[in-house]
Amino acid sequence: MEAMPTGTPFGTVDAGRKPPLLHVEGATLQYRTHRHLVTATYRVGFDVFAADRFILLGPSGCGKSTLLKAIAGFVKPVEGGIFLHGRPVDRPGPDRMMVFQEFDQLLPWKTVRDNVAFPMLSSRKFGRREAHERAKRYIDLVNLGKFAASYPHQLSGGMKQRVAIARAMAMEPDILLMDEPFASLDALTRRKMQDELLAIWRQVRCTIVFVTHSIEEAILLGSRILVLSPHPGRVRALWETGRDRGGEASSEEFRALHDAIEEILFGESLMQEGAGI
């Protein structure tokens, strides 16, 4: 394996950091389709630190979603391990709340308020009163105060994703796992949601692992970006952009970073074609 490039013109690797919140070591992930056994990622490793906005970026087939599901505890690595606070992850749990891309992740039989309160109650992390108070606070945080008593089918796609984000954040998980949460939204709503997510992050400073295939979204949202190559997913590069660049999508620096990442992904695909795959 080639060495992993970690330094970037825009960020520095802070070697003397505290121990990581999430440690992924040489994780090989496989899943079964009807006919094949597919290797989604091959010996992928990285660390996520507290208050990181950690992006898993790559084209389809790079195993980024499977990786996120493995962190969530839905998929077990066949090789290597995933450690949260130094303890191996072996099952799904409310300490890692997941936000999915699909709109049907909300429970259709519960109102917005009850959807947000639901994990807090079912995990017994919070008492009934506290859960409802927190639900209200986080629903207000995502600007859905007026819709607290609505059912999911009465909301638009963007509103449903906001509820899912509120539901996950209200749990105060160790890590918030987001699997392309804005990919099914229209471009305008997506832009708005990205800004809102950053605004919320500035308030609560939670740790986020965010999966996307959009370089732009990665640069816009991420403080650290892990670039993965496809078939099977392997680490290509780790970019420490470090800063909060909400609303800066047109700056010089942004373009340069965009081109550099594109070069890595694009160069890779050329190499593969050259290899006759």
């Binding site: 409310p94 909300l106 429970l107 259709p108 039989w109 639901f118 059912y151 089918h153």
Partner: protein
């Protein structure tokens, strides 16, 4: 109207719009009322019935609408019809309850183990096409004349369609909802109660409705065969008895009661459940 004399269109003034919101004519509003339309159809059918009966003039074979209503009223007031209906409903609830319990058990088994899944699929595929009433002779052989035999065929009538629907509902619950539930820390029974059952509820409710219709039909049919010996028979027996006595109007009254109860349970019970659950949740239009 909205134009100036020299032909240049002027923006219509509010008072010239004529209509912003105006109630539609009464006839149009009444025509839009589905219940009213259906009531009119029923009235027309009753009129046709009465007319044909008067023309045929053969009360033994085809009593008129009025005679049927009279017989229904008389037997209702005397308590005969009410008692027989009560008997039928009691057996119905018992059989339905047993079948729902068994179906839940079977669907649960099918959810937990693949072997259970295969077993349920095979059993439902095999036994669902078998008309429950065809099992009555066997039931009589095993359980003799009496309620247990009726319960046996009724459970058979309800169990398979209900288990089939419930199982289809459970298997149809999306992976995302399952993951959301497990992510929230649910497993085992709470996971089934809080995620799987509500998510599968549209299919379960359909199963309950189909099961109810099968149960009611099977019960009446079984009572027809059966009533011959049991003293406190139900509605089916009431129909059979009155046919033997050539009280044809009462036969019609019995049939009407069967229809009425079927409609009432569907309209009052199931539609109410539907309105407060799957329709409110947007899982059914």
């Amino acid at each position: 109207m909205g134009y100036d004399v020299d032909g240049i269109a002027a923006a219509p003034q509010p008072e010239e719009w004529k209509v912003v919101q105006r109630p539609l004519p009464l006839a149009v509003r009444l025509a839009a009322n589905g219940a009213l339309r259906r009531a009119l159809i029923l009235l027309a059918l009753a009129g046709l019935w009465q007319g044909y009966a008067a023309w045929a003039d053969n009360p033994l074979m085809f009593p008129s609408f009025v005679e049927t209503v009279q017989a229904l009223w008389a037997d209702a007031v005397s308590g005969v019809l009410i008692a027989k209906t009560g008997n039928s409903l009691r057996v119905l609830c018992l059989g339905y309850g047993i079948a729902v319990g068994l179906a839940a058990l079977m669907a649960g088994l099918a959810m937990t183990a693949r072997l259970g899944d295969d077993l349920l699929s095979t059993l439902t595929a095999m036994l669902n096409p078998l008309p429950a009433i065809a099992l009555l002779p066997l039931a009589l052989l095993w359980f003799g004349l009496g309620t247990p035999s009726i319960l046996f065929v009724m459970v058979h009538a309800v169990l398979w369609p209900l288990a089939l629907n419930a199982h289809a509902g459970f298997s149809g619950v999306s992976d995302i909802l399952r993951m959301a539930g497990r992510n929230a820390g649910l497993k085992g029974l709470p996971y089934i109660v809080h995620i799987l059952i509500p998510a599968a509820f549209p299919a379960i409710l359909t199963g309950l409705k189909v099961g109810w219709a099968f149960a009611w039909r099977t019960l009446i049919a079984a009572e027809l065969v059966f009533g011959v010996s049991s003293r406190s028979g139900g509605l089916g027996w009431y129909i059979f008895e009155n046919k033997n006595r050539l009280e044809t109007a009462s036969v019609f009254a019995g049939l009407s009661t069967v229809i009425l109860i079927g409609l009432l349970v569907d309209a009052l019970l199931f539609r109410t459940i539907e309105r407060h659950t799957v329709r409110k949740w947007g899982m059914l239009r």
